[in-house]
C-alpha cells in the first residue's frame, strides 16, 4: 500500500506566468472595486459620453464589468432554477412552461419595470441604474442557459444515479460531483452564446429613453450610440473596432481554455480536434500559483461537503421540519399574492384599451410576422448554398470557418448605425431596412447549423450519389436537404427566436438625434417603453409572447420531432 507523498522541487519554483497571473488577478480585482465604488455616486441626469480614442478603454471596461455581473447572475439563476424545477414534479409542471414564456419576452419589455423599480429603491443614486442595466442584460442571457442546465440534469444516465444511491451520497454531493460536472459542457456552450447575446443588447441597455426621460450609463454601448446619434462615423468605427477586439480577446483568453478544460466532463467519445488545444490553457495549467488556488478551493469544498454528512440534531428535529415547511409555504403564498396583484393591475391597465388599439397591435404583428418570415427566407437563400459548400469542402472550411466565426461574433446592433447611414443615404426606409437589420442578427445561427449538417453527411452517401451520377436539383432533393434537415430545423428555430427578439431593436432605431421607426410589433414595444405607455407595452408584449410560443409549438416543435425521427443519420 502506497500513499503518494508529493513534495517536489517544482512546487517551490515560481515561473513568470505565475507572476503575470498574480498581477492580472490583482489588477482585475482592483478595477472592479474601483468601478463599483463609483456606483454609490449620485446619478447625473445629463451624463455626457465623451467621444475620443483616449476614453474608449474606460468605457469598455465598465461594459465588460456589467456583462460579467449579468453573466454571473444568469449562471446562478440557471443552476438554481433548473435544479429546483427538476427536483419536484409539481414545480416542473409550472416552471418549465413559464420558462418558455419568459424566453419569448423581449428585453425591452422588462425595461420599464426593472428601471423604475431600481430607481425607486435607490433614488438619485447611480447604483440603481447600474443594477437595472445588469438585470436587463441578464434577461437577455439567462433563458437558454437555464434550459440547457435543466435538460442536462434530466439526462444523467440512470446507472450513474443508481451509483449515487447505492453509496448513499447526500444531495450536496450528488449536485457537486454528478449534476454539475455532467451539465458542464452544455453550460459552457450556452454561456458563450449568452455572453454574445449580452453584447447584442448592450446598446439598448446602456442608453435608453423611458417616459420621455433620457437614461445613460458610461459604457461601450452608449459610446457607439452617442457617436451614431452625432453622425460621427469615425467614432462609431472606433467603438465597433474596440468591441470586436474585445470579443476576440475574451474568446482567446477565457472561452477557448474553458472549452478545452470542459472536455474532461465528456462522456465517452473523443472531443473534436479544435477543442483539445488552447495556448492559454496550457499556460494556466503550468502555473503553480493557479494550482495552489485550485487545491485550496477544492479543499474548502471538500470540508463543506464533509460538514453535510455530520449529523445536525437541530436539522433532523421535527420542529425544524415544521418551521422549514412553514417558511416555504408562506414564501409560496407571498409569490402567489404578488402574481395575483400583478394580474389585477395588468387587468386594470388593459381594461382601458380600445378596439382600435387592438386592431393596431394586430396590424403591427402582421407586419412583424412578414418581416421575420422575409428575414428567415433571405437568410436561408444565401446560407444554404454557402453553408453546404463550406460543409462539403473540408479545404474551404479550413479557411472560411475562421472568417465566418469572426464575422458572426460582431453584435449586429453595433453595426446598425452604419447600416442606417446607408439606408438614409440611399433610401429604402426602415420598412425594408428592418429586415436587413434582423437578418444581420440571425443569419449566423442558420449558417453554422448548415455547415455542421453538411459536414456530417456520411462520405459513402456522397460517393454513392456521385457513382449514380445524381446531380443538380436531384442531388439536393435526395442527398443534401434530407441530410442536413435536423440541423436546418435546429438553425431555423434559433434564428426565428432571434429574429423576433431583434424586431424591438431594428424596427425602432434612434439615430442622429432623432428616432426612425416603422410599423411593427417590435416598434410598438420599443416606443411604448420609451414613452411609458404601460398598457400598450403590456398588451404588445403579450401578443409577441403568444405569437412566439405558438409558432414554437405549432411549427418548430413538429418539424423538430420529424427531424429527430425520420431524418436521423446513424
Amino acid at each position: 500500500m502506497r500513499i503518494p507523498v508529493s513534495i517536489s522541487f517544482e512546487t517551490f519554483r515560481i515561473r513568470l506566468i505565475d507572476l503575470i497571473i498574480f498581477f492580472l488577478i490583482v489588477g482585475i480585482f482592483s478595477l472592479i472595486v474601483y468601478i463599483a465604488s463609483q456606483w454609490g455616486a449620485p446619478y447625473e441626469r445629463s451624463l455626457e459620453i465623451e467621444l475620443g480614442l483616449q476614453n474608449i478603454f474606460g468605457y469598455a471596461v465598465q461594459s465588460i464589468v456589467r456583462i460579467f455581473f449579468a453573466y454571473l447572475l444568469s449562471l446562478i439563476f440557471s443552476i438554481w432554477y433548473g435544479y429546483a424545477a427538476s427536483r419536484s414534479k409539481i414545480r416542473e409542471r409550472i416552471m418549465i412552461p413559464l420558462l418558455d414564456i419568459l424566453q419569448s419576452i423581449p428585453v425591452l419589455s422588462f425595461l420599464p419595470g426593472v428601471v423604475l423599480a431600481m430607481i425607486a429603491i435607490f433614488p438619485e443614486k447611480r447604483i440603481g441604474l447600474e443594477i437595472a442595466c445588469v438585470l436587463l442584460i441578464f434577461t437577455g442571457q439567462v433563458w437558454n442557459m437555464t434550459f440547457s442546465f435543466y435538460h442536462s440534469i434530466n439526462t444523467v444516465p440512470r446507472e450513474m444515479v443508481e451509483v449515487v444511491k447505492v453509496f448513499k451520497w447526500n444531495k450536496f454531493s450528488k449536485f457537486l460531483r454528478l449534476d454539475l460536472p455532467f451539465s458542464a459542457i452544455g453550460l459552457v456552450w450556452n454561456s458563450m452564446m449568452s455572453v454574445a447575446g449580452g453584447w447584442f443588447f448592450l446598446m439598448a441597455c446602456e442608453m435608453f429613453v423611458l417616459e420621455g426621460k433620457d437614461f445613460r450609463l458610461p459604457g461601450l454601448g452608449s459610446y457607439i450610440q452617442t457617436a451614431a446619434n452625432k453622425g460621427d462615423i469615425v467614432n462609431v468605427i472606433y467603438g465597433l473596432g474596440t468591441m470586436i477586439a474585445l470579443i476576440i480577446l475574451i474568446d482567446f483568453i477565457i472561452w477557448r481554455p474553458i472549452i478545452v478544460w470542459s472536455q474532461k466532463f465528456r462522456l465517452g467519445s473523443i472531443p473534436p480536434e479544435e477543442e483539445r488545444e488552447s495556448f492559454v490553457y496550457n499556460l494556466f495549467v503550468s502555473s503553480v500559483f493557479l494550482r495552489r488556488i485550485g487545491d485550496l478551493v477544492s479543499n474548502v469544498i471538500n470540508k463543506i461537503e464533509r460538514l453535510y454528512y455530520k449529523e445536525f440534531p437541530l436539522v433532523r428535529s421535527p420542529f425544524f421540519k415544521v418551521v422549514s415547511k412553514g417558511v416555504s409555504i408562506s414564501f409560496l403564498f407571498i409569490i402567489m399574492l404578488a402574481i395575483m396583484w400583478a394580474l389585477f393591475k395588468a387587468f386594470y391597465l388593459v381594461s382601458s384599451i380600445s378596439l382600435v388599439d387592438i386592431f393596431l397591435i394586430i396590424k403591427a404583428s402582421f407586419y412583424s410576422l412578414l418581416r421575420v418570415f422575409a428575414a428567415l427566407l433571405i437568410a436561408l437563400l444565401w446560407t444554404l448554398p454557402v453553408g453546404v459548400f463550406i460543409g462539403l469542402n473540408p479545404r474551404a472550411a479550413k479557411y472560411l470557418q475562421g472568417i465566418v466565426q469572426i464575422a458572426a461574433s460582431v453584435p449586429a446592433t453595433a453595426i446598425f448605425p452604419v447600416i442606417i447611414l446607408f439606408i438614409i443615404r440611399f433610401g429604402g426606409g426602415l420598412d425594408i431596412g428592418a429586415i436587413l437589420l434582423m437578418l444581420l442578427g440571425t443569419q449566423w445561427y442558420l449558417l453554422f447549423n448548415i455547415i455542421a449538417g453538411a459536414s456530417a453527411i456520411p462520405k459513402d452517401l456522397i460517393e454513392i450519389s456521385r457513382a449514380y451520377k445524381i446531380k443538380g436539383l436531384k442531388r439536393w432533393k435526395t442527398l443534401i436537404l434530407p441530410g442536413i434537415f435536423p440541423y436546418l430545423v435546429n438553425g431555423l428555430i434559433t434564428a426565428s427566436g432571434g429574429a423576433w427578439n431583434a424586431t424591438i431593436v431594428s424596427e425602432y432605431v434612434s439615430f442622429g438625434g432623432g428616432i426612425i421607426k416603422t410599423v411593427g410589433l417590435g416598434a410598438l414595444i420599443s416606443s411604448s417603453s420609451a414613452s411609458g405607455d404601460f398598457r400598450f407595452l403590456l398588451l404588445s408584449t403579450c401578443f409577441m409572447s403568444l405569437i412566439v410560443v405558438s409558432i414554437n409549438r405549432l411549427v418548430w416543435k413538429r418539424l423538430f420531432i420529424l427531424a429527430k425521427t425520420k431524418y436521423v443519420l446513424e
Partner: protein, 432 residues
C-alpha cells in the same frame, strides 16, 4: 448448522403502470434466499426481469408487492453493505481511478487519509495498482470494469450484486476478468459474503457460480433452482460441465406451461424479435446438418450469444418448423420442406404457417380484409398490443409482425402514413 441468510425476497412482485389502466408485470412471486458463502447466478433471457430483481435486492426500487429482507430486516432503501457492479461500468469520466473508487466512500464520515488507504487497497485487490491517477477514458473496457468492481469492494460489502458485468466486454477480456473474480472468491479475498450475478450467458453461470436460478420471462418467475457442485477450477470440456450446460439450456427454452408460445390462459402470444431472413438461415443450416443439432454446440459454432440465437429458434418453433428436445433443435416435416423449397414456394409455406400459428399476423390480416379500404393505421394495432405489452415491446411486436407479413406477402407497411395495408395479391387470394 443453519447457514446465515444474507438476503431474502418474499412474494416479490414488480409491475409498472402503462398509460392509465394497463399494468405490465415484470416480476411475479419471486421467493428466494441467498446464503452466506454462495455465488448465485440469475439466468434468463432479456425481459425476464433479472435486472429489476437485482435492483430490488439493492434497495434501488421498491417492489409492488412482497418484500426484500436484508439479514432478516426489511430493506427500504439502498444500503451501504450491498454493493452493485453495473453493466455499463457507470464510472465518472471526470474522476481519476482513485477518485472513482473513493466515490464509494464519500457518503461515509471518513477523513481523507483513511479514504485514500481504503481506496488504494481496493484498487490493488483488482490488480490496477499504478493506474490510480489515470482517467477512465485512458483505460480499456476490462480495466474500466475493474474500477467498477474496486468501487464496489471499497466499502467491504456483505453482498455483491453484479448486473451483467462482463457483457460489454469482448470475449477474451471477459474470460480473463471472470477468472480473476473466481480466484478472488475462491481465495477468500473477496470482501463480500455472497455474490449474485445476473447474466444471460449460461456458460458464464456454470463456470463460476455455486447455484443457478433460472427465470422465465413475461412475467419473470423462478423456473428452476439448480445447485452447481462441480469443483473449481471447472473444466469446460468435461462431460459434467457439458451436461449441466445442456440441462440449463433445455430448462431455459422450455416454457413453464407446456403450450409455450400459443395463447395460453388469456396470455397474448409473444413474438420473438427475429427477421425472416435469419430464421430461414437457421432452418437451412440445421437442415444441412441433418435436421437435428445441439443448441449449445450450434451457438458456440456460430459464436452467437443465447440472446441472439434463441429468438430464431423460438420463431421456428412458433411457425411449426422445428421443436426442442433434450437441448437439441429438431426440424419438423414443414421445416424440412421449407428449407428445400424455392423462393416462391418458401413464401407460400411461410404464409400458411404464419396465418395458422401466429396470432398477431392472423389478426392483422383479418382486420385488413374486413375494412373496406384494406388499410389501417398502425396505432390501431399498437393499441391492442398495449394491453399486453409495454409500449416499447408493442412496437417491437408490430415491427416483427410487419417483417413476417411482408415476407409472406400478406400485408405491408407505409412508413410515411404509418398505415398497414393488404398486398394486392392477397386481396385476390382472400376473395377466391
Amino acid at each position: 448448522m443453519e447457514k446465515e441468510v444474507i438476503i431474502e425476497t418474499k412474494g416479490l412482485k414488480k409491475s409498472y403502470l402503462v398509460g392509465r389502466r394497463n399494468e405490465i408485470t415484470v416480476l411475479e412471486d419471486v421467493n428466494l434466499r441467498i446464503y452466506a458463502g454462495e455465488f448465485v447466478s440469475i439466468l434468463g433471457q432479456s425481459g425476464a426481469g433479472k435486472s429489476t430483481l437485482l435492483r430490488a435486492m439493492a434497495g434501488l426500487i421498491e417492489p409492488t408487492e412482497g418484500e426484500v429482507l436484508y439479514k432478516g430486516v426489511p430493506l427500504k432503501k439502498a444500503n451501504a453493505k450491498i454493493a452493485v457492479v453495473f453493466q455499463s461500468f457507470a464510472l465518472f469520466p471526470w474522476f481519476t481511478v482513485l477518485e472513482n473508487v473513493k466515490v464509494g466512500l464519500i457518503g461515509q464520515d471518513l477523513d481523507e487519509q483513511e479514504m485514500n488507504e481504503r481506496a488504494i487497497k481496493a484498487i490493488d485487490l483488482v490488480g490496477l495498482d499504478g493506474f490510480e491517477d489515470a482517467y477512465p477514458r485512458e483505460l480499456s473496457g476490462g480495466m474500466r470494469q475493474r474500477v467498477g468492481i474496486a468501487r464496489a469492494f471499497v466499502l467491504e460489502p456483505e453482498l455483491l450484486l453484479m448486473d451483467e458485468p462482463f457483457s460489454a466486454l469482448d470475449v477474451l477480456t471477459a474470460d480473463n476478468l471472470r477468472g480473476d473474480i473466481v480466484d478472488l472468491w475462491k481465495g477468500g479475498k473477496m470482501p463480500a459474503k455472497a455474490v449474485v450475478l445476473v447474466t444471460h450467458n449460461i456458460e458464464e453461470a456454470v463456470s463460476i457460480s455455486s447455484r443457478a436460478i433460472i427465470f422465465s420471462y413475461n412475467p419473470g418467475r423462478i423456473k428452476a433452482d439448480i445447485p452447481l457442485e462441480l469443483p473449481y477450477p471447472r473444466d469446460k470440456s468435461s462431460r459434467e460441465f457439458k451436461f449441466l450446460l445442456d440441462k440449463i439450456y433445455t430448462i431455459l427454452i422450455k416454457p413453464p406451461e407446456e403450450v409455450p408460445f400459443l395463447l395460453a390462459a388469456g396470455r397474448y402470444q409473444f413474438l420473438p424479435h427475429a427477421k425472416v431472413g435469419a430464421i430461414a438461415g437457421l432452418v437451412e443450416l440445421v437442415h444441412d446438418k441433418g435436421g437435428r443439432v445441439d443448441i449449445y454446440k450450434l451457438s458456440s459454432e456460430l459464436s452467437m450469444e443465447v440472446d441472439d440465437i434463441f429468438p430464431l429458434i423460438e420463431s421456428a418453433v412458433i411457425l411449426d418448423m422445428g421443436e426442442i428436445k433434450d437441448g437439441d433443435f429438431i426440424l419438423t416435416e414443414i421445416g424440412k420442406d421449407w428449407a428445400e423449397a424455392d423462393t416462391l414456394r418458401k413464401k407460400e409455406l411461410f404464409k400458411e404457417s404464419a396465418l395458422k400459428n401466429v396470432q398477431l399476423i392472423n389478426q392483422i390480416t383479418q382486420v385488413l380484409t374486413t375494412v373496406s379500404k384494406h388499410r389501417m393505421s398502425e396505432d390501431f394495432f399498437l393499441d391492442i398490443l398495449k394491453h399486453h405489452f409495454t409500449p416499447e415491446e408493442s412496437r417491437n411486436q408490430l415491427e416483427t409482425a410487419i417483417d413476417w407479413g411482408r415476407y409472406a406477402e400478406l400485408f405491408t407497411y407505409d412508413y410515411d402514413s404509418g398505415e398497414l395495408y393488404l398486398e394486392e395479391a392477397s386481396i385476390i387470394n382472400s376473395k377466391t
